[in-house]
Amino acid sequence: MNNHVSVTGLTVTARNAAGEEFAIVEDVSFSIPRGEVLALIGQSGSGKTTIALSLMGYARMGTRIADGSIRLGETEILSLDAAQVANLRGNRIAYVAQSAAAAFNPSRKIMDQVVEAALIHNVMPRAGAEAKAKDLFRALGLPFPDSIGNRYPHQLSGGQLQRLMAAMALVTDPELVILDEPTTALDVTTQIEVLRAFKKVVQERGATAVYVSHDLAVVAQMADRIVVLNHGKIREQGTTRQILHAPQDDYTKTLMAAARPAIRESASPEAAPVPLLEIRGLTAGYGKIDARGEPRVPVLRDIDLTIERGATVGVIGESGSGKSTLARVVAGLLPPAKGAVLLNGKPLPPGLSGRSRDEFRRIQLVFQNADTALNPAHSVSQILGRPLEFYHDLSGPAKDRRIAELLDITRLPATLADRRCGELSGGQKQRINLARALAAEPDIILCDEVTSALDTVVGAAILELMADLRRDLGLAYMFISHDISTVRAICDEIVVLYAGRKVEAGHRDTFRQQPFHPYTEMLIASVPELREGWLEQTEVGGPLPAVDTPAGNIDLCPFLPRCALRIDGVCNRSTPPRVRLASGNEILCHLNEADLLRLHFAEATVQ
């Protein structure tokens, strides 16, 4: 038999509150030849993780593997008893979870956790396991492979932990490795390094792997075969090439379409003499503010930003770049240390106290995670009704009418009004979240990663809705995101933040043509493209030019440690200037345009 893993007729059931059993995975069959990587792709709730866990003979609490057969080599996994299954897990089958930061025990050293599986299963003595682990650390491109095992999880970054988790899985030389959304929680620039490391070790060791993901572009880099899932059923399966180039199923085509956001025409906002929102020389952070006006932990430094009435300004950066802090400062939740925020030309009081009700009304916040942004103790009508009472003194039938209108605008059924948000789906919650901001009739909505927690298709529908609202109501948005393709698709102006500094700003059209700031270039080039072989071709993450130890006490370029174009003696010695490129983009960099053009990750594939 050539197939290493074969799954036939797998059915997993769960029970609902009434005690009825229903299938969450139905009649799923696929097989993986030895040494190949199979991808399970689908939206949340499609059953992809459930299938991945069944491969280890595991069903989550409340669910049950009802039917089917799973064979690994000669072993029928579903007929094993508990002890035999335990012997299999972490030994012949290994699992890499989505969030490595949550999967490592914070109180134990990395090495103890990495070799644990090998010791439990008596695969090899401790010294051998540690030597093996160090080899893996090296193969995965981790820094300090000989000593990294002595550190604790909190001393390492998310991307490093994710690679260490792969080392943990591979230490027993498993026959089958299950990777469950291993890069979803990472920044794109980190994702690319982790993907490379994964691909390398999987290929070198000839392991059979199952790669679970919702991201078609990532899967295209990793998998030999793809299984497309929806609502627990297989919609289509085939080789990666076939799925990417000639998808047969309508659902697969929808997924492909959603992976490439449509560029929306840029509304030309009326250039009023006074912009709607203006941020001048803003510095903000946490902790005490010292004599020079710098906070103890600075998060944002010297930010200037202008948002015209009816415009959409995208703020992009990776986690920790200060983009959410910017929204908090504008909303008044965090008083800035220096600088000012002007609304319609009038300076806003720095904190919450002192702002008038009208100033509050004009600026509304929408958070990323609708689960935590909506109070679970309130019903939908309470959530939407409060801003109506608060800002517009509506009550009784007038309020109910307006709630119905708001539900209608956000394309939700009016029957939702009496429900609690725990009963709604992710997309519905995000619409309620948006409807609450609209209830205030604001001038500008600060959107903090509003689509990041949603499936691609659902997220695309939310963006569609936002675009319509903007056209109909003349809203302005500050659109905060880590996803450059979304930002480029819907924003008029784009601001790139890195480590709290504005490294580039300009019109979105100029974000399609080089030159860019080296960080922008890296960000754009790190987004996986929907084609095979991209990961091998892209040059992002290559070796960097050597520089001397940076000079202390000088405000150096924040991107210096990762810049592929850094110049010894310049970048590590002096403060970069703010220059305007011919295209109109403003960047914070020492280099001139000719130098910037040398960096050519992104080729001409930018849409």
Partner: protein, 271 residues
Amino acid sequence: MKTIATLPFSGKLGLFLMAFWLLLALFGPMLAPYSPGSFVAYDVFDGISAEHWLGSDYLGRDVFSRLLSGARYTVGLAAAATLMAILLGTSLALTTAVHGGWVDEALSRFMDTLISIPSKIFALVLVAAFGSSLALLLLIATVIYVPGNYRIARSLAVNLNQMDYVQVARARGEGGVYLAVREILPNMIHPLLADMGLRFVFIVLLLSGLSFLGLGVQPPDADLGSLVRENISGLGEGAPAILAPAIAIATLTIGVNLLIDALPGRGRQIT
């Protein structure tokens, strides 16, 4: 009322026990066959009989009648003290969570000071200084149990205060009272109820303990704790006079906790 039907058996049992003691506390004295203070039996530490359902005590009084009046003291005092402690502790906690800064610092350190005083000694000193009275017992129980509730409520409220929905309400310009009462409080009700059950039990035990030492409710009145103390000499004979109040304390405290543990928490709801 749908909630009652969906309670597990332990919850129904708890509800029954709690309702039973509440009703006895309210209406018990009307049902009492004798006056709790009068000497009605010919013998002390009598067993169960038709005239005296729970026998007689060390002075020949009717235990059943005394138990009914004792339940009123215990349940009434403990319920009132629990409510006062929870109201005070939780409202202070909400204030500090929403306000933060120096208010939080000052109140929290004050509460720490209160916690550092041994509760029984504190009670003994106050009773010794002012003499025992119902009002003083109520005050003592409240003061002793406010800091514990404050601690729990504050930690819950501080966490909830960081939630996005509270931040949204803040950025909407809402005042502190709205944030505390409408956004934060509804999400901490369940753990607070669990805490309330625990505090109720502790207060029953504290009051019983004080009465057992002779510093609680003063004779001829008696709460459940004093009943145990009065009749302690009947223990060797296995007299119902001492078993009945002891069982009463046990069923009351267990019943309250069974009910509260069985209440559906928001987190545990099946969707």
